[in-house]
Symmetry: C2
Subunit: 319 residues, 2 copies
C-alpha cells in the first residue's frame, strides 16, 4: 500500500476528491470552495499549519498568528471575494505560557483587521505541538467570482506585485545574509484581498489564483484548468528589491527564487488586452504584465529565446 | 507567567476573547458564531481534534473521520441552523498508508451526507501526529436562531435523547465490559441537526446548546448566560440503555456517567410550558422534559430532596 509520501500532496488530494459527491457551485480544485447563497457566493477556504514543519525557526509568535490568518485570506483574495470572517483552531502544548498564545492570537487578530474581517471564534485543544487551522470566509457577487479556469487565447497575463522576496528571505535566513525586508516578506505575507476585490469588480478578469506555490506552478494550474498555454517573458517578471543580491550571495539561481519557491502571495491573473488600461488604473500600479495566453504549451521567453516552463511546485509529504 | 495548564481551557478562551473586537451578530461564547447575511445568519463553528489525545485507541479510521465531522455539525445543530457544508484540514504523518486516509475521509463524507451538507474542501499537510480541524457552516433565519441566553423563569427544560451512553462506552472500553451499543455511541456521535432545525422552526425555544461537555456543565452554561436558575429532577433524566449496568460493573457512579462525562451530543433546551405539546409532536418523541427554570440557583431534585448541581465540566489543559 502506498504511503502519503509515495503519492505526494497533490495526488493525495486528487484521489480523495474522487470520492466526494458535492453540489457546491465551485468545488474543491480552486483556491476555495463557493456556496450559492442566491445572489452571492459564500467563499470558504481552510489551511492548516504546524509550527515545526511549515514555519522558519526565527519566527515570532505574533508572526505565527499573522501567517496562519494571511494564508487563508490569500485564498479568499484569489476568488475576488470580500473577506468577512475567520475561525482559528489551535492545538497547543499544555506547558506553553499564556502570553505566547496571546501573541499568536494578536497576530491573527491584526491580520483580520488588516483585511477588514471579523475573528469569529476558534477552538483550543491540547496537543504535542503547535498546530493552527484557519478557515476564512468571504462573499462575492455570483457574476464576479474569479476562478482558475477561463483564460483565453490572446489574454494578457499579470501579477499584482514583485516576486522572489519570500524565497530571498528564506535563503537569507539559511545563509546568514542580512536582508530584513525579504525576511519580513517571508514571515508576514500580505494577502492581496483589496487587489482581488478590484479584479473581481472590474468584470474583466478571465482567470486568477494566488502564487503560494510559486509563479511557475501557478501558471501551470491556470493553464491546465483553462486548457490554454501561457507565454511568459522572463525580463518582464517584476523581481523584489534585494532578491538579485540574495541570489548572488547565496548561490541560488534567480529563477529558482522568482519562479519556483513560492510564498509570495501575490495574485496571478489574465484579462483581455482592452482591459489593460482600466485595470492598471484601478490597481494603482499594483499590476505587472508578464506575458500572454498563447498556444497550448507553457513557455518562457528568456533573452528572446523560448524555453519550456517547469510548472512543478512544492509538495508536502513527497520524499 | 501562567501556562495553559495553570489556566485551563475555559479561562484561556475567555482571556483571549477579551482582546477581540468583532462586529458579528452572535459572537464567540455560543456554540458557533453567526454572521448577518441580511435575511439569514451564517453560522460557523470550528473544532480541532488530535487522534492521540481526544479519541479512544480502539477507534477505526472511518470513526475518526465521522467523529471529527459530527462534533462540528453538533454546534450547528445547537444554533438551530441547517448544515450546508464542512471543510476539513488534516495534518498526517508522511508514512501513513493512503488507504487509512481514505477511510478517514470516507467517515467525514458519510457524516456530511447524513446531515445533508456538502464536503466543501480541505487541506492536508505533513505533521508528526494525526490532527483533524473541521469547520462547519449552517444557515438559519434571523428570527429563528437558537442561543444559550434566553431561558426565562417558568420555562420547561428538556433534552433530545437519553444520556450517559458515551460515558458508558468509555468505561466499557476501560474496564473490558461488553457493550457495543455504548461504545458505538461514544465513537459515532450523532449530531442532532434535524432536531435543532425543528426546535428553531418552532419559534418556541428560548435557549439551547449541545451536551458535549456533560448535562451538568451545559445547564450551568444556559443558566449563566440566561441569568436564571435551573431545577432538574434526577428521576426524569432519560438514561441510555445499558448505562446502569456499566455503572454497576465499573463502579463508576451513575450520576457521573449521566451528568458529568459528556460526549452525548444531544441538545438541551428550554421553552414555555404551552409549547410542550406541539414540540413533543414535532420532535416525534425525541424530547424528554427534565425540569424547569426556577429561581437563581442550579439544583437537582433527587428522591424529593434538593441538592446543588455541580456544573463544572471537563477542561483541556487543566492538570
Amino acid at each position: 500500500m502506498k504511503t502519503l509520501a509515495d503519492l505526494g500532496e497533490k495526488e493525495v488530494v486528487s484521489l480523495l476528491l474522487q470520492g466526494v459527491r458535492t453540489t457546491v457551485a465551485v468545488g474543491p480544485g480552486d483556491d476555495a470552495a463557493a456556496i450559492d447563497l442566491g445572489d452571492r457566493y459564500l467563499v470558504v477556504s481552510t489551511d492548516i499549519i504546524t509550527r515545526s514543519s511549515h514555519m522558519p525557526d526565527g519566527m515570532t509568535d505574533w508572526q505565527v498568528g499573522w501567517f496562519a490568518a494571511a494564508v487563508n485570506f490569500s485564498d479568499i483574495a484569489a476568488m475576488g471575494a470580500r473577506p468577512i470572517g475567520l475561525v482559528m483552531a489551535y492545538t497547543l502544548p499544555r506547558d506553553m505560557p499564556f502570553n505566547r498564545l496571546e501573541s499568536i492570537s494578536q497576530g491573527v487578530n491584526d491580520c483580520c483587521q488588516a483585511v477588514g474581517a471579523d475573528l469569529l471564534g476558534g477552538d483550543t485543544k491540547e496537543g504535542t505541538g503547535i498546530v493552527l487551522a484557519g478557515t476564512a470566509l468571504g462573499l462575492v457577487d455570483k457574476d464576479k467570482i474569479l476562478l482558475r479556469r477561463g483564460a483565453r487565447e490572446g489574454d494578457m497575463v499579470a501579477v499584482t506585485g514583485p516576486l522572489g522576496l519570500s524565497a530571498a528571505g528564506y535563503e537569507a535566513i539559511r545563509n546568514g545574509i542580512e536582508d530584513p525586508r525579504a525576511v519580513r516578506a517571508l514571515l508576514e505575507p500580505q494577502p492581496r484581498t483589496a487587489e482581488g476585490m478590484v479584479l473581481a469588480a472590474s468584470g474583466q478578469v478571465t482567470s486568477c489564483m494566488d502564487i503560494t506555490d510559486g509563479l511557475a506552478y501557478s501558471i501551470g494550474e491556470l493553464s491546465r484548468q483553462s486548457g490554454a498555454g501561457f507565454e511568459v517573458i522572463w525580463e518582464n517578471i517584476p523581481v523584489g528589491e534585494g532578491v538579485r543580491e540574495v541570489s548572488r550571495k547565496s548561490g541560488v539561481p534567480l529563477e529558482d527564487l522568482v519562479l519556483h519557491f513560492g510564498g509570495d502571495y501575490e495574485l496571478l491573473f489574465t484579462f483581455s488586452p482592452q482591459a489593460a488600461t482600466p485595470l492598471q488604473k484601478a490597481l494603482e500600479g499594483r499590476m505587472h504584465i508578464i506575458g500572454q495566453v498563447k498556444g497550448s504549451e507553457n513557455i518562457m521567453i528568456v533573452d528572446g529565446r523560448a524555453v519550456p516552463l517547469d510548472t512543478r511546485g512544492y509538495e508536502h509529504f513527497r520524499r
